[in-house]
Amino acid sequence: MNARKAIFWVVGTLVALGLACVGARVHLRRQMALVPGDSLWRISYTVEFQARKAGARLRLGIPADTPHARVFRERLFHSGLIPARSRPSRAGNRQTDLVAIRPGACSASARFDVHLSPRPLWRPSIPSTPISAEDRAAWLRSTKSIQVEDGRVAAVLGILRREGWRPAELVPRLFDYCQSEIALDVEGPHDAAAVLEAKRGDALGRTRAFVALCRAAKAPARLVVGFDLGNHARSEPRVWAEVLTDHAWEPYDLVDGHARQLPHTFVPVWRNGDEVVRLWDGSGLRTDFAVFRLPPSPGMFRSEVRASPLEILNLTRLPLEMHRVLAVILLLPLGALVTAVFRAVIGVRTFGTFTPALVALSFVYSDWRAGVFVFVLAIGLGLLSRAGLERLKLLMVPRLGFLLTLIVWCVVFSVSLLDYFQLIPSTQAVLLPLVILTMTVERFHVTSEEDGLRFAVQLLAGTMLVAACCYAVLRWDAVGDLLLVFPESHLFTLAAMVLLGRYTGYRLTELWRFRDMVKPVV
């Protein structure tokens, strides 16, 4: 058997190559020890609260990347909650919104692994667009705890101000004043006016006082909350201030007295705010933060400063936002493998070869319940209108175009419907493969006409079954992450495909189909 020998060699080569590549990468990753001075840290949040109603919203700030600190891995666990889309904030914060499914106890925890380096890992670009007047006004505004227009703030400013000083010249003086004249007192007041009056305040109060003074002096200023990884004995988030000078935000830390530049260990989480975790429509919020150093294990990153062309093969180097998309793309061959197993080993028939895998892929990107709802609605209405279209006797391509338009409507309005009734809090656009959906509707109709409704329903059920299995595979985060680190493991997938491609045994359904063949010969 020549072909059998060839298959044996191909499979053997693929598996050997796969083992070699994975082995080589494991070896290389071991060698990629951290540069001396660099360190790995984990910041974790644990949050518990009682939702007062369904739709109660929890917002978690995500540590931002700085030139010295880069989040290379993040994980979110939650129960009783569903991820929801959130508007990007003005200050460019990164956040995750979670929404309660029903009233009652909810919990969430998040974990961010940070690579910290005394050398800059990348150079921040200076934003070319000037800050808008609207934004500038927002950072000069008076708030409940930063009472810019209060007489007590004006009084202090009156003492410190000199004729003809620009705000930039005044800010260091304001900082010195808050540092030296206002005593740090944990029991002290929290809001700017009270702190300036009492000349004592807690860390937050002193920072607010400084921000209020800056704003009163017409220097845009804001609070920043984040973590200091260098001082992790206290893992509580800490607050500092940022003041806008000519073209950049300059940090001022009133606890340790850092002015205009912070140690590289400071990682901001939320700009223009003083809370890492915010809650709407809930009560009993309990938050627990932990910061600790990770053992210097082989990292999933490498300093970009010394990037070699070999880094092209390292997908984890790409921005974190791309990881999920890349992981799902890398899982797609496994979806194809599932489809092949269903076809060749089990013998389930479907509409179109890769329709199930593509439908499953679109479910992964949105909430699966929303996906199924939109899918069923689109197929149902599509079939009804297809039956109606039959009377018009349209030619095929215009008819498909007509159907596609209806299905597009169906998809966008059912997403809107879900959002309106807040049935499923996640209103991620359900991007079903529209063309595939259209073809499925058309083929369902033709099949039910030609081969009977029963057969068409059978095919649809087969399609949904395979799609569900593909969905389970595509949802497999752990495997997705593994594939992201070791994309060469698809050499094994290729070997499996070759083996499946030469599988000449019976399909499971054939055992049923040919059951009458084992009757004794008549």
């Binding site: 095929m396 599988y503 055992l511 040919f514 063949m517 084992v518 009757k519 010969v521 008549v522």
Partner: protein
């Protein structure tokens, strides 16, 4: 027998013992190996199959006309004139899809074999649907063939309900390995299509006599509509049919092919189409497996097999268990 009817499945070892060929093995070892992809158009395009058949003197239904452009479709009523009986079929259709059999006229309207009325406009729409590729493999643009309607041979009046039976011969290396006859039923709406509930019976390769029987993947002995036995019928002109099948398989140059015939009352067996991936239900119809037959033919020395040897092999295969 009763006990067997309740079996829900057969074990793979049992099927192997009975020599049943599975779809995976058919594709991997026979279809992919014996049939060159470049030759597929010869069977996928019925117009081409007809032309090839005619060059070899293999009888086919007479072609009345071919519609290739939408412009031609507009002149369909002019073209059809007073014709009362014809068949419209897509050149690249599969599994009998898109075939309309016209059996008579009612004024300007046509009467189909299934007893429906078809207006001229509907007939035109059907032709346009065929041209747009609705019934073709992969949905490519297609052409529509209008051809002679086959008159059912009286030998099958008792077992063919509402349509014309067809005979399939599966050939491997131009040697007939198995044959079956497919009989339309009410459930199949007059079409000889096993998916849709037609019944099939095995045909003895030497005598042309029917045996066994299958309907919806179950072994049956009688026609579901008439209750008459489907075994023991004799197919008229069997030797001609077998010769035509071998002739066509040779002309098509496909190593593994199914050739479908219908039996015309006057002309005898005529070729309807050929198939490069013939289905496996033929095994259930015959209650015999294809595998030992194919292996026996595969064991022949390489190169073309002589006509004498083919007939000799067919008669050996006919009585293989």
């Amino acid at each position: 027998m009763g006990r067997w009817n309740w079996r829900f499945w057969a074990g793979p070892a049992e099927l192997r013992k009975r020599g049943v060929l599975g779809i995976n093995r058919r594709n991997a070892d026979f279809v992919l190996r014996a049939n060159r992809r470049a030759l597929y158009p010869r069977v996928d395009d019925k117009l081409l199959t007809k032309q090839i058949s005619e060059t070899r003197g293999v009888p086919v239904p007479a072609t009345y006309g071919v519609f290739e452009r939408y412009g031609d479709v507009r002149r369909f009523d002019e073209w059809v004139g007073e014709r009362r009986e014809f068949v419209i079929k897509p050149a690249k259709g599969s599994e009998g899809r898109g075939i309309v059999v016209i059996v008579g006229r009612a004024g300007a309207d046509f009467l189909t074999a299934s007893g429906e009325r078809l207006t001229v406009a509907e007939a035109r729409y059907h032709l346009a649907a065929i041209l747009s590729g609705l019934y073709s493999l992969g949905g490519q643009p297609d052409s529509a063939i209008v051809e002679q309607r086959i008159q059912r041979h009286p030998a099958f009046d008792s077992v063919a309900v509402g349509g014309t039976p067809d005979v399939r011969v599966v050939l491997y290396r131009c040697v007939p390995v198995m044959a079956m006859i497919r009989l339309p039923t009410k459930a199949s709406r007059g079409r000889a299509n096993l998916h849709q509930g037609a019944v099939a019976a095995g045909v003895h390769l030497v005598t042309g006599k029917t045996s066994g029987g299958v309907c919806k993947n179950r072994a049956v002995a009688a026609h579901p509509d008439t209750g008459l036995p489907i075994a023991g019928l004799e197919i008229p002109g069997w030797d001609n049919l077998l010769n035509a099948a071998m002739e066509l398989a040779e002309a098509l140059e496909l190593g593994y092919v199914g050739v479908d015939f219908v039996l015309d009352a006057k002309a005898g067996p005529v070729v309807l189409e050929a198939n490069a991936r013939p289905g496996l239900a033929i095994q259930v119809a015959n209650r015999r497996g294809l595998e030992p037959r194919l292996e026996l033919v595969a064991a022949e020395p390489e190169g073309p097999i002589s006509w004498e040897r083919r007939r000799e092999l067919a008669s050996i295969l006919a009585d293989l268990p």
